[in-house]
Every structure is written in structure tokens, then in C-alpha cells.
Amino acid sequence: MEQLIDNLALGFGTALSLKNLALCFLGCMVGTLIGVLPGVGPIATIAMLLPITFGIDPTGALIMLAGIYYGAQYGGSTTAILVNIPGEATSVVTVLDGHQMARQGRAGVALGIAAIGSFIAGCVATVVIAALGEPLTKLAMLFGPAEYFSLMVMGLVFAVVLARGSLPKAIAMIVLGLLLSTVGTDLETGQERLTFGVAELSDGVDFAVLAMGIFGFAEIIRNLENPEARDVVRGKIGPLLPSWADFKQSIAPIARGTGLGAILGILPGNGAVLGPFASYTLEKKIAKDPSRFGRGAIEGVAGPEAANNAGAQTAFIPLLTLGIPPNAVMALMVGAMTIHGIIPGPQVVTKNPQLFWGMIASMWIGNLMLLIINLPLVGLWVRLLKVPYSLLYPAILLFCCIGIYSINNSTSDVLFTAFFGLVGYALIKFGYEPAPLLLGFVLGKLMEEKLRQALILSRGSFMTFVERPVSAGLLLVAAVMLAIALLPSIRKSRDEVFTE
């Protein structure tokens, strides 16, 4: 305990220097901005800003880059709420109720609670990293391919429970998502699958391309159909700060979301994407009146936003304690550290305590800064809705295109996004929800990879999934949830819940 305080004191001493404070602020500011712009993600931004950090010391550089990363998580929810575009896999869920709130004239409250929820989650996650980082890493090491596969199965069950409207349609969308995730080069043999000889598809479909297409472009096409319907929305902004009643309703979901997000974030292999989904499902399950979900329930924004931010921060644990990056942004942080001559690994804590603890302390400071930057800016973001659509839509389309181009510097990605935009529009017209498709897609990639690794390791025996205790436990949870969702007596009430 005493050592923890010593360590944190060292960290705050480092992070509170004028230069590091300025870098932290700069990172948070840039991060928020790129998060708000649809399509321009933290990966492209950090890659572009890497050369600028050459001149700064490694601690300052990492503080700034980390600020961009969690700033983008904050900013991403703004776009999700206001224009119905999830910029990152983790903000898909925020779209569901956040955008509905915006349509009901409660955009300010949705943005406010997202910022507050994220701040609380960020504070808790900082403490978790400082106090429990190392023991938790050992826990995460228990996860082999079999455990991962079972975790993803649980995620797919979440997806079924998450769906609105008709169950067969939701399952069809999940399966379509899974199918899309299999496009590209086969992991084991290197053969191309479902690419129709198109070279650009040999690495599969990019998440951003799919998400921008079926959410972003499709939403804009749909709105062009009847611009009148949305005029009501931009008239009313609503109060910026949540009322006391809103806050009371949100605090428990925030706490639960923080817990779920923090745990899932530690798992190597991008477990963080599951956090918001898990939180949303949980809130919907335990809500007194689940029919409010999907129609602007504040819990549906507060919980997942907290989970999202907690996961974004605990994702640093495997990087800082093991030196193994759990996702693409963390892989980039590894690159940033190596460029500065620090090779991430288990020895960073002992060899560079200033860097390690300075970065952890800066996360808390960064979260505070984000709250300060964001709450006054909420008014500005909300005013975005007042921009005439004749200007707003082309601008959003343009930013989406720039963002997608910047991922791989590839024009064909932009064309694919346009294609998925048309597909998304058709899906909306036929009454299919895009969210389960996206979840199926995100989970499908990991699921196939882990399934095949697990089966190679077990030499083809499916028993591996039930013989390993952690894996068996996860499958059991999935089975129970599925039973609850499908049992006839409960299904009756479910139909009431899900049909609009």
C-alpha cells in the first residue's frame, strides 16, 4: 500500500510537470477532435503524429499519444450520439440509445452523461491499473485460444439478446456479419476466400469500411429521403447537464459498466470490444422496463460509455506489464516506445519507473482534462445539429472518405464503403438492424482465428472447450443466457420487449 502511494507520488510528480501537462492537454484535445470527426480514428492520427514525438522525451511522447487514444474514445461517442455513426467498434452500442436521445431533443444530456460516465470509469480504471495491473496480467494469461473462443460465443449470445425487432432477422444479420468476416486470406493455408479475385479483398473487409458504410453512408442516404423528419431534432437541444433524476438512474449502470469494461479490457486480443456490448445487455436484462432500450434509455448510454472508457484504459495493462499489445492502437504504442529506445516488456516498470507511473498518473489527469474540455464543448457539438443538412451531410461524407482513405492510403477502401452504404440503405428499407451485423463481423474474425487455433492445439478434439474450466464456465454462462432468451414462458414477454 505504502509502495503504491510512493509509486503514485512519483507518477504525479512526473506527470504534473508543466511540459507533461501541456502534452497531456494537447493529446486530449487532438484526440477529442479526431474522435468527433467520423472515420478519422486514433490509429491513423497516432501514426501521423509519430514523427512529431521524435523531439520530445519518451515519457512526454507517450503521455501525449495516450491522451490522443482515450480522447478519441470520448470524441467518438459524440459522433455516435449526434450523427449515428460509430467511429470505433466500441461505440456501436452508444448509437442505439444515444442517437435516439438526440432525436428526442436530449442530445445535451446524452453527451453529458457519456462524458461523466467516462470520467468516473477513467478514474476507477486508473486506480485498477496502478494497484492491480500485475496480478491481473497473470489472470489474463490463463486465456488461451479455447477460452477466447468461448468468450466470443458468449458475445454472440449477447448479440441475440441485444437485437431489436424480429429475432430471425437479427440472427440473419449476425450470420451475415460472420460471413463477411470470413472474406480474405485463410489463416492456416493462405488461400483466398470469397474475394472473387479482387486483390483489395485479400486482407478481408476493414471494420471502419463496413461501419462507415452501413451506419454512416446509409444513415445519410436515408435522411435525404425525408429531411423534414429530422428538422424537429435540431430545433431542440435540451439541457446540457443531466438532471438529478437522470444521474440517479445512471450511476449504477456506470458502476457496473466500469467493472465489466475494466475486466474485459485486460484480456489480450482486443477483449475490450465486448465491454460495451456486455454492459448494454446487462442493463437491458435487469431493467424494470426493458422496452425503453433502443428508444433513448439513458442507462443504455451511461453503462456502455463507462465500459468503453474503462476498457480503453485497462487495455494498457498487458502492454505496460507484459509488453504485448492487445490491439492495433497498442501495437502502435509499442512502435512509439521502440522508436524512443524503450522496448516494452515486463521490465519497463523496474527500468523506467518514471515512464510507467508517470503515464498512469497522466491518465487520471487526462480524464479530468477531458471532462473540462468536453462539458463546455457539448454546447458546441450540439450546435452542429443546427448546421443545415445541405452543408452537414456533404461535410460528414467528406470526412468519412478522408478517414477511410487514411487507414490504408487506399482509394478502393472508399469505394467499398460506398458499396456498403448502399447495402446498409437496403437493409434499413427491409427492416434489418445493422448493429447485430457489425457485432457478428467484429466477433467473427476473432472467433474463427481462436477456434482454429484451439482445434489445432487439441489436434481436432472439440472436448477442449469443455475440458478447460475457464472455457467451460464461459460456455455455461452463454447457454444459460440463451435459455433465458428462448424459453417459451419468457419468450412471450421478450416479444413484448422487442417488437416495436
Binding site: 514523427p51 486470406t185 507484459l322 504485448i324 501495437a331 512502435g335 512509439a336 522496448i343 515486463p346
Partner: protein
């Protein structure tokens, strides 16, 4: 349309020929890195480009064009206008193993590029999970051979450095492990640390801290001399497998037809970077091996690429692995 545009710009370049060559470089140079930002090749490219920009007086901008084992970015470079403003950081995979891995490859590493110069090699290590019951390379090879396909080898995907370099090891040492593919080094290393898989081969920069931290065992380094980053790890020669000599090299290339004086100028800037104390230090800290003076010339790289293609083709063909 594209070809017309290219033709036009080539014509324009020729029209402005002498004046432009005088002024080269008079605008930023794009260096295509055919892998995602943050990986070993990207880091080496950024460190070298940082110093070269100072010498050339123009910024070298890194453009990451990842995909299909680096061949997407290499194809784009091969097809770009050869005016010296598009160059690339090639690699053992893109300019050595690719012709054997990708039957539909749209470029020939030996014919479609002008060599600029070798930048750095990162040595390959043979590593195993920390509980693997073998104390040195000899014991490891004996055990792995005896166990046949009961032993699990992790690699970072078909065509990755860890995949091809382990194919060479398996061929030379007569191993037949079960190969477990991952997407990238991170997840593969994660499962090696937690003991889900038995061994892998990979670049020193990815492994050095895990070895120092005692999370994995290193049996040998595939270079003639020990690495200062890991002085306790014996070379393959010392450990009894002298024929296993391999490193993931990184070298700069320009598209075929780039004027000689321009590639010479780039080679000169690269040699200055490799002589610069700070740049050397940063590269050596990564565990990289830098080429000697003779190895820094354009001709040396041209010859080397031919040898590499000839070396990898039979190993990969024999394994039956196909990229794309």
C-alpha cells in the same frame, strides 16, 4: 485512365528532366512502408528517414500501405512514377520470400526495382516457452525431432517473418512440428509466454524484453556473432546448427527507371545516416545489425536480393505454403 495519367506525368518528368535532377529533391519524398505503423520495419524506416531528411533537405514522409504480407505496398511502389519521389522500405518477405509465396505476384523483386541500399537486419532467434524441457539448442532439436508433430510451433501468419524463418529451421534441422498460425506477433508471443504453444522463431526486437524478463527461453541467435542486446544467447554456430543463418533484413528500393543520379543521392544520404552516431545508436538499441561499408552500396543490395530469392524459393515451395 490511370496509365494515361502515368504516361503524361512520365512525359512531364522527362520534359523537365535536367532541371529537376539538378534540384532533386525539391519536394517531400514519400517512403512506402508496406506494413502497419509500429512494427519493426516501420520503426527502422522512421529512424533512417529522420536522419536522411536532414541530409536531403526535404522531409521523407512515411506512408504505411499494409496488406497481403507487404506485397500491396511493394506493388504500388513498383508501379509508381520513377522520379525519386516515391521510394520504399523493402524487406526479407517482400523482396525475398514473396515470389515463392504469391504465385500471382505483380512484381519481380530482382527486375522491377532500383536498389538504394541495405538499412539494417534484425537477427532471428529460436525461442521456446519457459517450461520447455531442454536446456540448450541441441537438446531442443533432439526433443523436437523425437516428438514430431506433437510439438506446437507458433507463427505470425502465412508469409510472415516468423513463418518463413521457421520453415528454414524445420527444413535444416528435420523438424515436423504442428504449425499454429496467429494474426501478428503479439498474439503468438502471448500464447508462447502463457505456454499454450511450444516454440517460435522471430525477430530480436519483438523478443528481447521477454527473454530478459525470463518469460521465454532463447536457444540461439541466427547470426555469426552474439548480439550486444542479449550477450548470453549463443549463436547457432556455437550451439550446433551453423547452417541456420538468417535475419529479417530491411532495405530501400526505388521503382525501376529511377535516374541513377537520384538513387545515388539517396544511397549517399542513407550511408550518412548509417554513419551518424545517434541514428546508429537508435538502430543498435533495437538489436539491429548494420551493414558494413561494402554492404551499403547499391550493387551489394542488388546482388543480395537475387541470392535471397534463390534461397527462399525452394524452402517455401517444399513446404507447400501459399500466400494470398
Amino acid at each position: 485512365m490511370r496509365t494515361i495519367l502515368t504516361a503524361l506525368s512520365v512525359a512531364a518528368a522527362f520534359a523537365a528532366g535536367p532541371a529537376m535532377a539538378q534540384a532533386y529533391p525539391n519536394k517531400p519524398i514519400t517512403m512506402i512502408v508496406p506494413f502497419a505503423a509500429g512494427g519493426p520495419t516501420d520503426v527502422i524506416a522512421r529512424i533512417a528517414a529522420d536522419n536522411m531528411s536532414k541530409t536531403l533537405g526535404q522531409q521523407i514522409v512515411i506512408e504505411n500501405v499494409a496488406g497481403a504480407g507487404g506485397t500491396t505496398g511493394s506493388t504500388r511502389t513498383a508501379q509508381s512514377v520513377p522520379d525519386g519521389y516515391t521510394i520504399m522500405m523493402g524487406h526479407m518477405g517482400t523482396h525475398g520470400a514473396a515470389p515463392a509465396l504469391y504465385p500471382n505476384l505483380k512484381y519481380d523483386p530482382t527486375k522491377d526495382f532500383e536498389p538504394i541500399g541495405m538499412v539494417a537486419g534484425t537477427p532471428i532467434l529460436i525461442v521456446a516457452k519457459k517450461t520447455f524441457p531442454a536446456k540448450d539448442l541441441k537438446e531442443f532439436l533432439a526433443k523436437a525431432k523425437a516428438d514430431g508433430d506433437k510439438i506446437n510451433e507458433a507463427h505470425a501468419g502465412i508469409g510472415s517473418v516468423s513463418h518463413t524463418t521457421c520453415l528454414l529451421l524445420n527444413a535444416q534441422a528435420g523438424l515436423k512440428p504442428t504449425q499454429v498460425p496467429y494474426k501478428g506477433t503479439g498474439p503468438a508471443l502471448n500464447d508462447l509466454v502463457s505456454g499454450q504453444v511450444d516454440f517460435m522463431c522471430d525477430q530480436i526486437v519483438n523478443l528481447v524484453e521477454q527473454i530478459k524478463g525470463g518469460n521465454i527461453k532463447a536457444y540461439a541467435i541466427a547470426t555469426p556473432e552474439r548480439s550486444p542486446a542479449l550477450p548470453d544467447v549463443p549463436t547457432t554456430k556455437e550451439a550446433g546448427l551453423p547452417e541456420y543463418q538468417v535475419s529479417a533484413w530491411n532495405a530501400m528500393f526505388a521503382p525501376k527507371g529511377t535516374p541513377k543520379d537520384i538513387t545515388a543521392k539517396l544511397n549517399d544520404a542513407l550511408q550518412k545516416a548509417l554513419a551518424d552516431e545517434n541514428t546508429r545508436k537508435r538502430l543498435l538499441e533495437l538489436g539491429a545489425v548494420l551493414p558494413d561499408k561494402a554492404g551499403q552500396t547499391q550493387d551489394a543490395l542488388g546482388t543480395f536480393v537475387g541470392q535471397e530469392v534463390a534461397r527462399w524459393t525452394p524452402v517455401i515451395k517444399a513446404s507447400g505454403a501459399v500466400g494470398q
